[in-house]
Symmetry: C2
Subunit: 186 residues, 2 copies
């Protein structure tokens, strides 16, 4: 049960309204497609800021969504002095307040989360692998520093492409990078 790893660096998703506030008339361009169908890295970056610190060059991933969300690592949380909760994408309950700064304006809202470890999948692959919807699985990864991650959520979508999404803390802890292979442990 080999799974390709995709490491997510810190990034933002934007609602159309917030996109307008931050970028005004500036048009986004596709820099490159991501593995998940329809998702892409844009040419645009923002700064994210708190009272304590600012982090620059944070990539905006398109297309626009119905919500604005900042995905950061625990390491970023220490830098920024916030305690963002671990959440599935789109679940902003108790998300941390953060300011997003673009060339045309800024937006401050409670939208910063640490994305949970999740496995993108479609229902065909899920049934092939004998996994249940909403199941959590354990996944082994790494060589020199290896680990079994216990809290990997199944994220089934119609066009899901089999891929394990980790943040940079998970990747750096176990010395893995995008394209490396992980193994599902039953």
């Amino acid at each position: 049960m080999d799974i390709k790893i995709g490491v997510s660096n810190r990034h933002v998703h934007l609602s159309s309204d917030d996109y307008l506030t931050l970028f005004g008339d500036i048009k986004m361009e596709k820099l490159k497609d991501l593995v998940q169908v329809g998702e892409f890295a844009t040419n645009l970056v923002v700064e994210i800021a708190t009272e304590k610190a600012k982090i620059g060059k944070v990539r905006f991933l398109g297309p626009c969504r119905s919500y604005t969300q900042v995905e950061i690592s625990k390491t970023d949380c220490y830098t920024l002095g916030i305690d963002a909760p671990v959440r599935a994408s789109g679940d902003l309950e108790n998300a941390s307040e953060i300011t997003i700064i673009g060339p045309c304006g800024r937006v401050t809202k409670r939208c910063a989360i640490i994305a949970n470890r999740h496995l993108h999948i479609n229902h065909i692959d899920r049934e092939r692998l004998g996994l249940l919807t909403k199941e959590k699985v354990s996944i082994e990864l790494g060589t020199v520093k290896s680990a079994v991650l216990n809290d990997v959520y199944i994220k089934e979508t119609l066009n899901g492409v089999l891929e394990l999404h980790l943040d940079t803390d998970d990747a750096n802890s176990n010395l893995v990078k995008t394209g490396d292979i992980a193994r599902i442990i039953r």
Copy 2:
């Protein structure tokens, strides 16, 4: 088999010669004792630098040793643009070149490593826990994001105090901090 976690932020150990080069006549003072007997945080910090980047406020841990060593995380390696190997403390084989900058001078040498995950222990605790010298053990940690780390080295010393030493990547990946409890998995 509950074990206290000690998270090591990036730090340097210095030989007496390199201490003189970096700090000259400046005397180190003990800021606080570490858990391991005889080890202490000093009041002194250095910068560490490569051609790509510089990281400031890196703590010097005393006392002086027979070798100079810079312990950093994989995240730091990306910042600095180097690929430091994972090593036990004192093993500088193929260590990465780095420059250490103090108020009185600088030292450039191949001394940057990522410290391996290790369990400090004395022989009494080791026998009590039924562990073998030089054995690697697996240790479970974390709650919201939990994992079993597979590559934890037993580091037995005469005065070793039972403590799991992890770097900030391991800690932040699994949302643990100094003083949290981990569990040995046989």
